[in-house]
């Protein structure tokens, strides 16, 4: 019964989204107001149907209704209710259903926000979104089938993958990833609309940028949460391995970041319209490629829990989107007329281009390394992978160049600069660079790349702080008090401030990654009860191995006493969890985080009867700073989006796209 109702909802969603896509394209072509109204209604209806289907599935999961195929696949009577709810996205079919819900929410929000704006583009945009909606409805109706009817329902199911139950981060990581991935549909639709229209007006760049920024924030969080989860759960002591699944989330992030920068240039100078559009479309393509890689089982890695026939369907969609994008770009890109021009290589303009070049190179590098083994296997039937050293060797110089660019770019003025100006802009931050590198050297950093990263980080930090402080100082010079200036200036130049906050976070993240990956200590220990060992400045004593019974799992726990510099820091309890449904145990490391370093203990083997323990013990510096830095980046992104509509609308009204804005006049002298 429930399964049949679910299938009806999915079929209706397929119908409504297909109709909406057609109505939208027709309304766009004819410029029909009534057609646009119809498209909007169908968009809302699609969202409502997807929400209903998801609610129905959650209900079935909570009731342990094993007559529903997906529930029989991932449900279990032995798991708590919260696990039952998050099972919605724990496996393939459910996660596609959840994808539909997220898409519905995005489409509703983007449609409502622009229902009476940008009439020349919006029907086309909504039509593109709904076409994507139709594809995912089709996927749910045919190949995926979460609502398949189970003729003879089992008495109990296997429950979701224990790795998902093992840590709270795995509950929040997937929703963020979907909010990031699915959200890229919105800018893709906007870019398609601009191409279909053959025009990208100044007023339409802002929504494009904003709707790119929102999923970018979620994707930033998702990548960080994924890394954090790997660190806290998988027990090998690191957070990033260039695993295909990690790369799948990182690739669209790279192009989206490039697009955000090039869109800024487009918005400010009216240039690079085609390039910005291309990056936005590439971002969407990479999300679909990522979905294919993680959801079809071509790579078997920690994240790909299942293999299925869904892969070919997604591959078909990827091909379709690729053809659509290439044809649209080829046919229409010439119609985008630039309204300004780029000036000077040694200027902020030039640095924006350098940024884009680096991000594209980065994307290419990661993409080639990720896809190469697949191609080799397909062609020669040889199984292999591209090892981590390849990625590290390519990523380190690019990352360090980006770190420096975050300092040099904002230091330079727009347009052409005189040698005198360049000297005044670029020389002072060298002080910050030397300071940071010297500080690092004093604290024991010897690796040359890490020292370079620290130096560039210091350079960028000084520039960023200077740029953040500048408007405050200007306001104070006009006679405002310090408190007033500190509150008012960021409010008046919110997007500018936000951008520098994101940069501060990114610079901090890059430095923390450099330090944590080169300055750690790692030891594999074999201990008996009562034995002591040291790692870094810590003394570890293996006190006892215990067996613990919990409702949905059993665990073997190692109790390890920690001392540092004669001070007792208490007991850490890394463990091995045994879930009923799983043959292999799942380790859970214990991490003790202090301001500058983590003590990381992971059980490799443990035997309470013999009193023996194999332990991986690591000291990882600055890892927690990466999570903090990502939070700063996300908050900065949010600040850029925060509605400050009065100011923005007033500016938009004053600026006619055909007349150069005052800043452009000033820059182009």
């Amino acid at each position: 019964m429930t399964a049949a109702a679910g299938r009806v909802l999915i079929l209706l969603a397929l119908l409504v989204s297909s109709a909406g896509a057609m109505a939208g394209f027709a309304a766009g072509a004819r410029g029909s107001e009534a057609g646009w109204r119809l498209t909007r209604r169908l968009a809302y209806a699609f969202a409502a149907l997807m929400a209903a289907a998801n609610a129905l599935m959650v209900w079935a999961l909570l009731r342990r209704d094993f007559s529903v195929g997906y529930v029989a696949h991932v449900g279990s009577r032995s798991v708590p209710d919260w696990v039952a709810v998050v099972s919605l996205w724990s496996s393939l079919e459910g996660s596609i259903l959840f994808w539909g819900l997220v898409l519905g929410v995005y489409v509703t929000a983007a449609t409502r926000a622009n229902r009476s704006r940008h009439p020349e583009y919006m029907p086309y945009a909504a039509a593109t979104w709904l076409a994507c909606g139709a594809f995912f409805s089709f996927l749910l109706a045919g190949p995926a089938q979460p609502f398949a009817t189970v003729p003879h329902p089992p008495a109990d199911g296997p429950g979701p993958n224990p790795l998902l139950q093992n840590h709270v981060l795995m509950i929040v990581h997937p929703p963020f990833l979907y909010l990031g991935y699915v959200g890229m549909t919105i800018p893709f639709g906007l870019a398609s609309a601009a191409l279909l229209r053959g025009r990208l007006g100044h007023d339409f760049i802002r929504p494009l940028r904003d709707w790119l920024m929102l999923p970018w924030i979620f994707l930033t969080c998702a990548i960080t949460l994924g890394a954090w989860w790997a660190y806290e759960v998988l027990g090998w002591g690191g957070y990033w391995a260039w695993d295909p699944v990690e790369n799948a989330s990182f690739l669209p992030w790279l192009t989206a970041t490039a697009a955000l920068h090039s869109a800024l240039l487009t918005e400010r100078k009216g240039v690079l319209k085609g390039w910005t559009t291309t990056l936005v479309m590439a971002t969407f393509l990479l999300t679909i490629l990522g979905t294919f890689m993680t959801r079809s089982g071509v790579f078997n890695s920690v994240h790909s829990f299942t293999q299925s026939a869904i892969g070919p369907t997604i591959l078909g969609f990827l091909a379709l989107v690729l053809v659509w994008s290439v044809i649209l770009l080829a046919a229409r890109i010439d119609r985008f007329s630039p309204e300004g021009q780029l000036l000077g290589a040694a200027s902020r303009d030039g640095m924006f281009l350098a940024n884009n070049l680096l991000f594209v190179l980065f994307t290419f590098t990661v993409l080639v390394g990720t896809v190469f083994p697949l191609v080799v296997e397909a062609v020669q039937n040889v199984q292999m992978s591209v090892g981590r050293p390849y990625f590290d060797r390519m990523a380190v110089p690019i990352g360090i160049a980006l770190l420096l660019l975050m300092g040099v770019g904002p230091a330079l003025p727009w347009g052409r600069a005189t040698p005198e100006q360049l000297k005044r802009a670029l020389l002072p931050p060298i002080f910050g660079a030397l300071l940071a590198a010297a500080l690092g050297a004093m604290l024991g950093v010897r690796a040359p790349w890490t020292l370079v990263a620290l130096g560039f980080g210091g350079y960028t930090a000084q520039v960023t702080l200077r740029e953040l402080w500048r408007p405050v100082a200007r306001r104070r010079a006009k006679g405002a008090g310090l408190g007033e200036a500190l509150v008012e200036s960021p409010r008046r130049s919110r997007r500018r401030t936000a951008a520098y906050v994101v940069h501060a976070g990114a610079a901090l993240a890059l430095v923390a990654i450099a330090v944590s990956s080169t300055m750690g200590t790692s030891k594999e220990l074999q201990l008996r009860e009562g034995q002591t060992a040291t790692v870094g400045a810590y003394t570890l004593t293996f006190l006892k191995a215990e067996e613990v019974r919990e409702p949905h799992r059993d665990a073997l726990v190692a109790r390890i006493g920690i001392m540092k510099g004669g001070r007792d820091l208490g007991v850490l309890t890394p463990r091995m969890n045994h879930y009923e449904s799983q043959r292999e145990p799942v380790g859970t490391p214990a991490v003790r985080t202090s301001l500058f370093e983590d003590l990381y203990l992971s059980v490799m083997n443990i035997d309470p009867a013999q009193g023996t323990l194999g332990l991986l013990a690591m000291v990882n510096p600055m890892v927690a700073w990466i999570w903090g830095a990502a939070l700063v980046m996300a908050l900065g992104g949010l600040a850029a989006l925060w509605p400050g509509h009065r100011a923005a609308a007033a500016v938009a009204a004053r600026v006619d796209p055909r007349v150069p804005a005052p800043s452009r006049v000033a820059a182009e002298g």
Partner: protein
């Protein structure tokens, strides 16, 4: 087109070519092969010094632990009848035992045994418990083994 423009295009092409060369070289030097004992022997000299993930089953009665250290020696076998002796320095994981699928990361030594840096028990992605004697596709599980990717380079 002006001369400056041609010059810019030539410079970009040169830079792009250099980048491609670096990428191709980087990939070529960092391939990790997924081999079983049979393929390992078939590769001959090529296996010495290469990055390899050796996958297979731990042979019966072949495990020798050296007391007081984490060093362990054993034989890995595969279906076609290949066998290779492994000396591994990494701490063996919880489930390590005879007749279990393992993946060892390391390289072939000139002396003819496999020098393992890291030892993992192959980790099934399925929820169900495999039946007695059920074949486990080692090639498939080779890629799934938790964290194998991530041995910090010593």
């Amino acid at each position: 087109m002006s001369r400056g423009r041609w010059f810019a295009i030539a410079a970009l092409a040169a830079a792009g070519g250099a980048f491609l060369a670096i990428t191709a070289g980087g990939i070529g030097q960092n391939l990790v092969y997924y081999w079983g004992p049979t393929e390992l022997h078939a590769a001959g000299k090529k296996a010495v010094g290469a990055s390899i993930r050796l996958g297979g089953l731990v042979a019966d009665h072949s495990i020798v632990r050296s007391p007081g250290s984490s060093q362990v020696e054993f034989d890995v076998i595969d279906r076609p009848g290949g066998r290779v002796h492994v000396k591994c320095t990494g701490v063996p994981p919880q489930l390590f035992r005879e007749r279990i699928g393992v993946v060892v990361e390391g390289t072939m030594s000139p002396a003819g045994h496999f020098e393992g840096r890291r030892l993992m028990v192959s980790h099934s992605n399925e929820y169900r418990i495999p039946g007695e004697g059920e074949a486990v596709d080692v090639k498939k599980t080779m890629r799934t083994t938790q964290g194998l990717d991530d041995a910090p380079a010593p």
